[in-house]
């Protein structure tokens, strides 16, 4: 009787493995440095190595495992189980990941993009546990997103939907890396809020601790800005609150469009904790429709960098088992062992 699904979160630096049981508990997590210089074959070898290690560690046979879920950066084709390309990494074009891993492991394999997998992880076992509709924004280098409607991940008809970071929130706004003007990502991602600070530091004569922080040649990053904002630095606060304002607009739009149970924020910026959530919520509530009586909560993600591997395993359970794992048993438990 199959009792587990293997979850794999394919990352640019590390690939993470974990085992999920039918109650959604993930255990035996470990990670391996991702091999990217040996083409598709090297990547398949790595996945097979990790999968087999996981099974041998727990003395599992193929019969104990329902299948494998892999979360991958994109662009990918979920329907065809393929990595279409990995930007800047040669040899990954049109890689039939599911087929190749499935043949080597003799197990069914399902693919999901990494942002969706992380959202699904939070939905099953994290900040979204117990709800039906959840939208997650991942605030990192860019802004990724995952949309869960009535328990199902929304992909779009050509598998290119759920790109909420590229929702235009400022007509004729600043140019995003994607070519569009005024994308949410252009204002509220770590990369672009840092760029805005750097620009201000050059053009603005106000004193700022940000100048001290980067005096020794250290590159400015979002952590400096949060830290300086906490210290009451005027310029840093301007930068941070601008990012929060656009993020609040993004969250308002999510309510108007989806009306979910909740909005979840993940990614590096979330480490700012209440320094993010407090000003964001204040701006969001000030913009919100009062007449409906509904104030959709914004929550911080709970699973951190484990969300991807948990979600990948959850995607496999849902696709290969008889529906999603039943996580209700450990609804209020602290985080699982690693």
């Amino acid at each position: 009787m199959a009792k587990y699904c293997i979850g794999i979160d394919l990352g640019g630096t590390f690939t993470k493995f974990g085992l999920m049981d039918e109650s959604g508990r993930v255990s035996s997590m470990f990670q391996i440095p991702t091999v990217l210089d040996k083409g598709g074959e090297g990547l398949i070898d790595l996945i097979v190595l990790g999968g087999n290690r996981l099974m041998s560690q727990r003395s599992l046979t193929r019969d104990d495992v329902l299948g494998i879920g892999i979360g991958s950066p994109g662009p990918i084709s979920i329907k065809r189980g393929m990595i279409l390309m990995l930007p800047n990494i040669p040899g990954m074009e049109n890689l039939a990941l599911c087929d190749l891993v499935s043949r080597r492991m003799n197990l069914p394999v399902v693919l999901e993009n990494d942002a969706n997998a992380a959202a699904y992880g939070e939905y099953l076992c994290g900040a979204g546990k117990g709800v039906s509709d959840m939208v997650m924004l991942t605030l990192g280098t860019g802004i990724g997103s995952g949309i869960i409607i009535e328990g199902r991940i929304h992909h779009g008809r050509h598998e290119i939907g759920a790109e909420l970071g590229h929702m235009i929130v400022e007509a004729d706004g600043e140019k995003c890396n994607c070519g569009q003007l005024g994308c949410l990502e252009r204002y509220s991602s770590a990369t672009f809020l840092t760029l805005y600070a750097a620009r201000l530091l050059q053009s603005d004569s106000r004193p700022s601790v940000l100048r001290e922080m980067t005096k020794s040649g250290q590159a400015l990053d979002a952590r400096h800005i949060v830290q300086a904002h906490k210290q009451g630095d005027e310029l840093a606060t301007q930068v941070w609150l601008r990012a929060m304002k656009f993020l609040a607009i993004g969250c308002i739009n999510i309510c108007r469009i989806f009306d979910p149970d909740e909005i979840v924020l993940a990614g590096g910026l979330v480490n700012a904790g209440s320094d993010l959530l407090d000003p964001l919520t204040k701006l969001y509530e000030s913009m919100h429709w009062k007449l409906t009586g509904v104030m959709t909560p914004i929550k911080l993600a709970r699973l951190g960098s484990d969300a991807g591997v948990i979600g990948a395993a959850g995607v496999a359970w849902t696709a290969l088992g008889s529906g999603p794992p039943d996580c209700s048993a450990h609804l209020d438990e602290p985080r699982n062992e690693k």
Copy 2:
């Protein structure tokens, strides 16, 4: 054996009735002036009168009818089958429409909001026939919307989603009637593009045929602007292209968020035909992501003011029958008899 569903489109001026068979054909359509000054009871009487007239015209008994679908302006609660209120019309608060009509007609009744019903009508029998995912914007006094994902209408968890007209597309933009700043509706609805023209006519010294058109005291409306734009009037063209630009942004956002099969435009502004579609498509295509190779088509609605009654009947078929009516048989037929 039940062979029909009754569709009812509750409008502020007229209430429209029609009969849908299992192949999605709607016939015997007629309308009755909507009685709004006799409270909830008057409204129920009207619906029952129309429903009975429809059945007697076609010599149908209760056994021939599966049920009734009603499209209503809102706010409503679909889950509870209630009209919560009709703005500016007293006596309609918390009206248990479905229960009351069901008891009088001895038939099951389902409720849908009017924008969703119209979108569902286009989806089943109009511009969206044969697709899976469709988003419709209704460009009228305001901008309404309907979202169909994998054949299902998206309502949101508190039934307040699918308000794409109130998606913010201009941070710190102009104030919308809803209280938010920079809503799509504030730029591309008939009301607001007309308001923009009126403002320009006051502040701008350029000659414009719009001044001639409204000389005799006639109120400026969107038709004047389209007509003047067609005549090459510079000011009117500026107004019209601004509305089209924001509409293009709205359509781009729909692609990023939903990635549907197609976008459908309905409502009064659509009467402009190619004067709307041509500049809109040009702007939309210029903004669109090239790298995906996907150019989601924008189409004009095909059912005009019949979409609501067709969709209402379709909603009843889907809820009360064994799924949506099978409209494939008349996929390329001209419009049905009325």
